[in-house]
Each structure stands twice: as structure tokens, then as C-alpha cells.
Symmetry: C3
């Protein structure tokens, strides 16, 4: 049985919609673990969250885990699939809090191995543009790529979202 899935892709590539479909597939109900830190003045993020919630409709129980994702996974590990949306925002929160993000990612990887109910992670591709001039942006994109590799290795399936459709990355029948 597939227990852990990573869906990665660029902005607005349909990652969340694919993840929602997959999370609801077994029984029409799932747990949504949001990682967005909600700041009072962030109108863009508030609009995006409202849009996601409206689209998801019924059948969801919502959790909020901007920092302690491991605890949220442990607490929610029951009968329902979980959707974590998204890892890139979780990493951003860790970096802003000056947490030891490498240690946190390693701990998440260990947590993934312990899960019994399925968990679907959404993450962002941020490394396929021109090298950013800003040093912080370069560090972030390195961290995000490193995290994606670590989580991909821990997951049973990895998919790349392109224009709303999933391209299979892992497992892959091609001999490399």
C-alpha cells in the first residue's frame, strides 16, 4: 500500500488540486494540514487560502502546523489520509524562525517512515529559473531543493505536476 506521496511542481501547476484528489480517493474524507503562517496583513496569502478552502469543499478536517509538522503527523495518524500543503511554506517558516532546518527535515523524514495512514505532501519547484542575485534567495532555493530530495527519498511515490497533470517521477520503470 502506498503510504507517502510527494507532489512537486512550479507555482500554479495544479499540485494542490492533484493532492486533494489523491487524498480523497480512498474514502472521500481527509485531513488537511496547512503550513501557511497567517500574517494579518498578508492579503495575497489570505486570498489563496480562502480559494483553496472553497475549492476543497466538504469532507475535510483542517489542522494548522506552520512549524511542528512532525507533531501534526503523529496526532493525525488514524484512519484518514493527510494532505500537507505545503512543505515549501513550512521550510520558509523554519528559516524565518532561524531553526535548524536540516535537523527538522531529517526528523520529518524519520516521521514519514513511522506513519501508518497515507500522507500526501505538496512542495514547490523553485530552482529552474535564473540564479537569483539575492544571496538569501539562493540559500532558500538550495534548502528547498535539498528538502525535496530528502522527502522524495522517504516517499513511496513522487509526481511532477505540469499544467494540472501528473508526470510520474518515482517509482519509475526506466533503468537509469
Amino acid at each position: 500500500m502506498t503510504r507517502s506521496i510527494l507532489i512537486t511542481g512550479g507555482a500554479r501547476s495544479g499540485k494542490s488540486r492533484l493532492a486533494e484528489r489523491r487524498a480523497l480517493a480512498p474514502c472521500g474524507r481527509a485531513i488537511y494540514i496547512a503550513t501557511a503562517e497567517i500574517y494579518e496583513d498578508d492579503v495575497e496569502m489570505a486570498a489563496r487560502i480562502a480559494e483553496h478552502r472553497a475549492r476543497r469543499g466538504d469532507g475535510w478536517r483542517d489542522l494548522h502546523a506552520p512549524r511542528d509538522l512532525g507533531a501534526a503527523l503523529r496526532a493525525s495518524d488514524g484512519d484518514l489520509p493527510r494532505l500537507v500543503d505545503c512543505l515549501t511554506l513550512w521550510l520558509t517558516n523554519l528559516l524565518l524562525a532561524e531553526a535548524d532546518w536540516r535537523a527538522e527535515v531529517q526528523a520529518l523524514v524519520q516521521e514519514i517512515a513511522r506513519q501508518r495512514a497515507p500522507v500526501i505532501f505538496v512542495s514547490n519547484e523553485v530552482g529552474a529559473g535564473i540564479v537569483p542575485e539575492n544571496r538569501l534567495a539562493r540559500s532558500f532555493r538550495d534548502a528547498a531543493g535539498w528538502m525535496n530530495q530528502a522527502v522524495a527519498e522517504a516517499c513511496d511515490e513522487v509526481w511532477l505536476a505540469v499544467a494540472g497533470y501528473p508526470v510520474k517521477v518515482k517509482p519509475n520503470e526506466h533503468t537509469f
Copy 2:
């Protein structure tokens, strides 16, 4: 019979060349629908257009549809395949004109369903870099991703161009 194809990819990933090959495949002749708004002082764009035209060679009839793509599709729906190059520039033109781009994309989607002759759309992946600091750039990348998803859903085939080669996105034999 395949009637509508979307070829997406990053800058200089070989999208246009693949699209040209596909458009000419049935009968060696096709209609080229250019969406670039040509400004007098845009030397880069003029050079790119000249390069595309030189590469394409004979066998093409050229149309120009920087805004009313639906009308161009209706007017050209005869015996020959059409190549629309590209949707991202068309969207840019709509945004610059402060048109209702969501409504225009929806109208395009309906037009695609009505076409009888094949049509191949070229579009750009713009969402796989770091989040732009510029708010307008963020809006544009959201709009471009949203448009790509809508057009992909309306098309029979979707391909991702990587280093000049097509990776199949839709239809896809992998069970998601």
C-alpha cells in the same frame, strides 16, 4: 484524431521547433498564428520573430492575433493545422490591455472544443523559479499557470519540452 495539442516548457526549451514539426506532419503545410504584439523599439522580439520565420521556411501562411485569438481560430479552421505561438504572449497582451483575461481564457477553451482542424498551442513554464519579489510578476505567473491548466484540460495532448525533446504529460498511462 488528435485535434488540439499543448506544448509547454521553459524559455529556449525547443517548444516552437517541436510545435512546427507537429503542425507540418500531416501535409507539409500549416498556418502560423503569431500572438506577439510588435512594438517598434523591441529589437529582441523582432530578432526572435525573424529567427523563427527563417527557421520555419516555406509551407506556412502567417496570421497575426495579438488579442483576438478566438476569431483567428474560427477564421482559419479549414484544411490546415494551425500553430499558435504563443499563449504566454497572448496572455501578456490581455493583461497589458487590462482585459478580463479569465473570461478570455474561458472563451478560448470553448473555442478549442469547436475546432475541426488541428491546432497546436505553444506556452511557457514561468512558475518553477524563486517567488518573484515584484507583485506584478507574481500575478502574471499565477495567471500563466492558471491559463496553462485550463488549456491543458481542453487539449487532447500535452507535452513538456526539455532540451528540445518532448516529455509526454497527457494522455498518460500512469495511474495517479
Copy 3:
């Protein structure tokens, strides 16, 4: 026998690690051709090189070819596979030196055809973000995409690295 392989992908997508695995596969030993121009004050690059070297471990002979990659390929064409890491830095060096990069890429393509021992090239996807405002960045991304297409055409295999896993680009069983 596969003699030439291109592995492309975004920053921190696992390209180098995949290329190392592939280079060592035949006999556990390989030649590493580094293209990074090492500047005294570039701490970031020095750290990345040190990390790559530590990860690679034994079994490698190191060459340095920031500009004359063709000569390095000819000189190293013996019993061992070669790994060129990476083409994007090599192109950067050519552009900074105001060399005729198109001619250099064409010469490389011809050199690839003459190689007897396997060679694995690592390259970067830089064109899937928003269009850069900076004209130099736009030129670079055009050149990088153009180079990737030329090298991909010359290679027997092309792979796209996503979160550490290889997606097959060429050869591809899908009829386009």
C-alpha cells in the same frame, strides 16, 4: 553502448549525484572534469566544490577545464567514464571571457561524436522562471537553453532530474 548522456534539472535537483552514480556504474572509477572557475573570494562556490568532492569519495581522478572542455575530453578519452560538471558554468565562463560561445558549443557537439569512452554531462534548467528584467540574464538563459538543446541532440540519452530522481527525456518511447 551508451556513450554520451546529458542530465539536466533545476538547482539542487540531484543532477550531480545522479551523474556520479552513472559515471561509477561500469567500473567504480571515473574522471571528474570540473568546469568551475575558482575565484579567491567566492566562498559559496568553494563550499559547494568541497561538498561535492567529499560526497564523491575515492575512485575519482580530477581534471579542471573551465574553458577548453574539448581538449579535456580528448585528453581523457581512455578506459574510464568522464563526468563534466557542469555545462552551465562552462558557458558562463565563455560568456564572461566574451568568447564565441556558439562556435564553442558547435565544437563541443563535434567532439562528443568523436568520444570513445562514456561521458556524462550535467547542465542546469534556468528557463522555467519568470522572464528576468535584466537583459544580460535574458541573454544567458537563451544561450543556456540553446546549448542544452544542441548537447541533447548530440547525446544518446537525456534525463531530467526532479527531486533526486531521473525522468527519461531521450530516447523516449512515446510517438510525438
